[in-house]
Symmetry: C2
Subunit: 356 residues, 2 copies
């Protein structure tokens, strides 16, 4: 059983992901698979993914928002992964593990610097997971939004463009940015923290220690508060808000308009700074998209530079709630894509031919 | 004489630029030179620059801030360039022209989309200058801040880093961003418009059509207004403000503190979004640097994410007022750097061997 206070509502059905194999390179067999893991605010997930994005098996379990120690989450992820890893046999070969986490992550060593939603600070997640999973393949840890934009670029809403921004948000708001076809990382891997653009000098305190950050105006807490609901109500409360909005409740609609307007202000900042072709709304923003898109486009028109917003589209995530998990899989395939021959050649013992 | 109402205060002395030749490639002779041109708010400039950043000759003339038609500026730039081009003879070979302009520029064809400071909208500057200069080498037009960061990266304050942001500002505020060693362009070349990040919902109208943009809080007009001076006083009035501050005038110091605090708020946004190693303050911000750096660092500490600001430095431009002009020269050398052999081979008539 999954430990640590999790609701063990396993949904191990295949995720029906629309997709086509990457045009870059094809393996000589269908044997290369990766393990993708995701630790988000409300759930933990694992998937066994083949080259080209084929999901062989996946599982997602809800989790409470209580802060859990990192070793508990690591144990839970390892337990979720175990039955998937057991499927790797015969002609299949596990070539990597990709991990997505709602956190500021140092890319070089997978150290979680700060994860306000998880209550983590300076957690060596890559090292802990490598130990818990007991696998000998490379394991990489990355910020959830950074992986979301990767998946949407490979086979989602940013498939045909090289400049895109993926906005992930529940309680916190993060960004994954694609610049000229390459992920924006920054000097240490922390780039893309668009949720912490200061947009309101009279704004509320932010969990980062600052105040008036964009996420304090557009995150789940802001949306629920604006509608007179408990700020900590979580996704179920958001569901009830959307039901009320659907049936014409004026307070619910006003709250969605207000968040939509702030969403548009931040997207104007993003458009002015990055001049992207597409801005992709993930997670919370994917859910509320139909109710906010008019306000977003109105504010973007008022606050964005004419040239920069000329060709931009604001769209919901094409991969829905699975962008981030699928991005973790894409990330795990990176060494393979850089040098497929080394990975597909017969390997003897620990010798392998990867150049890096 | 330079036409169009210019003050013809020519200062054709050599700019003493500290620098070393680029380590990337060396020409087989010192013969390759480029023409660099700059149209800024308060001056026009031209320079003949050799490979490695050696400035053979340069000229900068002040200009009034009155809006001049694009063909007047083009004629003025051509007149400034003529004596420099006349020096290209014998073993020297002109291989390109780089043009910097305070504008949002479409990179593909050098179309100025918007230049509020010049009063231009949809001006085909590259085409006009190519005609006026009567040269047959490639001519590229780019945003001033984009070129500033390029020069500072090659031989200035960002020489040893791959993630940097250069902030240019007089009346308007622009940004040049280096991401993983490469310039941030965006889908159309408009990226980096950090001056138009909305930071104040109760802010002043901005010349871009929006309001509360960062440049309305930190630009020259904001600084002069805050000190009770005429907002349109220009750089001379800024000079008087700085003199007053130097002699301890409290109102001048308070205005600098206020602008420094807003500068820090915007730099926090930049640090959170880009996670750069260095933020370089150019033009106006270079001038006021000693008076604002304490406020900037205070606000950056309060509003920036701890991980992202851990290793960042906020420094004045190492190339002073010449970053942008020297960046235009660097830009003009780009085709040469990509394929030096093609450029250095003996050329017959119009045949040349450049691959692109």
């Amino acid at each position: 059983m999954v430990a640590g206070g999790l609701v063990t509502e396993e949904r191990p059905e295949l995720i029906g992901v629309p997709g086509r194999p990457s045009p870059l390179v094809r393996p000589r067999s269908d044997s290369a698979v990766v393990l993708a893991l995701e630790a988000s605010v409300d759930s933990l997930a694992a998937a066994l993914v083949g080259f080209g994005g084929d999901v062989h098996a996946s599982v997602r379990v809800e989790r409470p928002r209580a802060h859990l120690a990192a070793d508990e989450i690591v144990a839970d992820l390892a337990e979720l992964a175990a039955p998937l890893l057991a499927r790797v046999s015969g002609s299949m070969s596990l070539i990597g593990v990709g991990v997505a986490v709602v956190a500021i992550v140092r890319r070089t060593d997978g150290l979680v610097r700060l994860a306000p939603n998880l209550g983590w600070h300076e957690v060596p997640l890559a090292r802990m997971l490598t130990g818990a999973l007991d696998v000998s393949v490379p394991l990489t840890v990355a910020n959830d939004a950074d992986l979301g934009v990767l998946a949407e670029h490979r086979r989602g809403a940013a498939r045909d463009v090289d400049d895109a921004v993926y906005i992930a948000g529940e309680v916190g708001v993060g960004g994954g940015v694609l610049v000229d076809g390459r992920p924006l990382r920054g000097a240490d891997g922390y780039a893309g923290e668009i949720g912490h653009i200061p947009v309101n000098p009279d704004g509320r305190p932010c969990r980062c220690g600052s105040y008036g950050c964009w996420e304090t105006e557009v995150g789940e807490r802001a949306l629920l508060s604006a509608s007179g609901r408990p700020a900590d109500g979580g996704p179920d409360e958001v569901g009830r808000l959307l039901q009320d909005a659907e049936s014409g409740d004026e307070r619910a609609l006003a709250a969605l308009r207000q968040v939509g307007e702030w969403l548009g202000v931040g997207i104007a900042a993003i458009v002015n700074v990055f001049n992207p072709r597409v801005v992709i709304l993930g997670s919370l923003f994917d859910r509320i998209y139909p109710y906010v898109i008019t306000s977003v486009e109105d504010r973007l028109a008022a606050r964005g530079l004419a040239a920069s917003r000329e060709h931009v589209r604001v769209v919901p995530a094409a991969l829905g709630g699975e962008s981030v998990l699928l991005g973790a899989a894409e990330q795990a395939f990176e060494p393979f894509l850089e040098d497929p021959a080394a990975w597909l050649a017969p390997r003897v013992g620990e010798v392998h031919l990867a150049s890096a």
